[in-house]
């Protein structure tokens, strides 16, 4: 059920949501799991460490970034394919993530979130003793 709901949303045609002053975009992300952590990489062009707001509350991870307009007056565009004033996306984290040890860095408009796995979620090697 959850998967089909997500798929339905993922395939929606991309159009910016226009409110009075802001355009909010849902940034593309990669979610990659390694042995010890889950990496979330998000494209947030124009965002800086100061403009980012990352919160975790009751297992809900919310990433928000405000992007300051780079011009006071909107020019007459010959081509317009971007123009977000805000990026926002949320994820539910399961018990497998140690939410106390999450760290984040942003560089060149690319956010990397490190979500360490809880001890219980790490792969464990079972030693087999010979009898």
């Amino acid at each position: 059920m959850v998967n089909s709901a997500i798929q339905k949303n993922e395939n929606t045609t991309c159009t910016p949501v226009k409110t009075e002053q802001s355009v909010t975009w849902r940034p593309p992300v990669d979610v990659i799991e390694t042995k010890d952590e889950v990496l979330l990489i998000a494209d947030l062009p124009g965002a800086t460490a100061e403009s980012l707001d990352i919160q975790i509350e009751n297992g809900l991870l919310t990433i928000e970034a405000r992007v300051e307009p780079r011009r006071e007056n909107a020019p007459a565009y010959l081509l317009r394919e971007h123009g977000a004033t805000k990026f926002a996306r949320s994820f539910n984290l399961g018990d497998g993530v140690n939410t106390n040890a999450i760290s984040a860095e942003i560089r060149d408009g690319k956010l990397t979130l490190h979500l360490p796995k809880a001890e219980a979620a790490k792969p464990r090697r079972i030693d087999v003793k010979s009898a």
């Binding site: 959850v2 998967n3 709901a5 997500i6 798929q7 949303n9 993922e10 395939n11 929606t12 045609t13 991309c14 159009t15 910016p16 949501v17 909010t24 975009w25 849902r26 940034p27 593309p28 992300v29 990669d30 979610v31 990659i32 799991e33 390694t34 889950v38 990496l39 990489i41 998000a42 494209d43 947030l44 062009p45 124009g46 965002a47 809900l60 780079r70 020019p75 007459a76 565009y77 010959l78 081509l79 317009r80 394919e81 971007h82 123009g83 977000a84 996306r89 949320s90 994820f91 539910n92 984290l93 399961g94 018990d95 497998g96 993530v97 060149d108 408009g109 690319k110 979500l115 979620a121």
Partner: protein
């Protein structure tokens, strides 16, 4: 060519039940639409007097892996985006484009290639392309008939 890696549908097909519990996207009532531009990088282009300004979104790219070329009235932005974390065990989502890309834009007039300036900041590449002298608007003085 830009490689659009796994489509969301494919990557979701690979998502395991375990991962559903570990990491699951939330869609509230105020969900926002997906923002994947038709081509990479997404561009804004406008005219500023005697120049064109092109603003490209190139998150994660640095000057080392970006190329900007101008020929006549064509601008080409190319590069390669690589992300290779070590010891990947599972890829749960791959929505970000990766690989090599090239995008060519035809501008309305010839460009003075010598005077093109480019600036990269926080994943935004801004290119100022002054029009060639031959393409600038010239005001013709009209003298009154004596």
């Amino acid at each position: 060519m830009l490689l659009n890696r796994l489509s969301p549908r494919v990557s979701f097909g690979r998502m395991s039940r375990d991962m559903d519990r570990l990491f699951e996207e939330v869609f509230g009532a105020s969900r926002t639409p997906y923002s994947r531009p038709a081509a990479f990088p997404a561009l804004n282009v406008w005219e500023d007097g005697d120049a064109f300004i092109v603003e490209a979104e190139v998150p994660g790219l640095t000057l080392d892996n970006l190329g900007v070329e101008v020929l006549g009235n064509e601008l080409t932005i190319s590069g390669e985006r690589k992300d290779a974390p070590n010891e990947v065990t599972t890829v749960h989502r791959r929505e970000r484009n990766s690989g090599t890309f090239q995008r060519t834009l035809t501008l309305p007039t010839e460009i003075n290639a010598e005077a093109v300036e480019a600036d990269l900041k926080n994943g935004i590449l801004t290119i100022r392309l002054p029009k060639a002298e031959t393409a600038k608007v010239r005001r013709i003085e009209v003298k009154p008939h004596e």
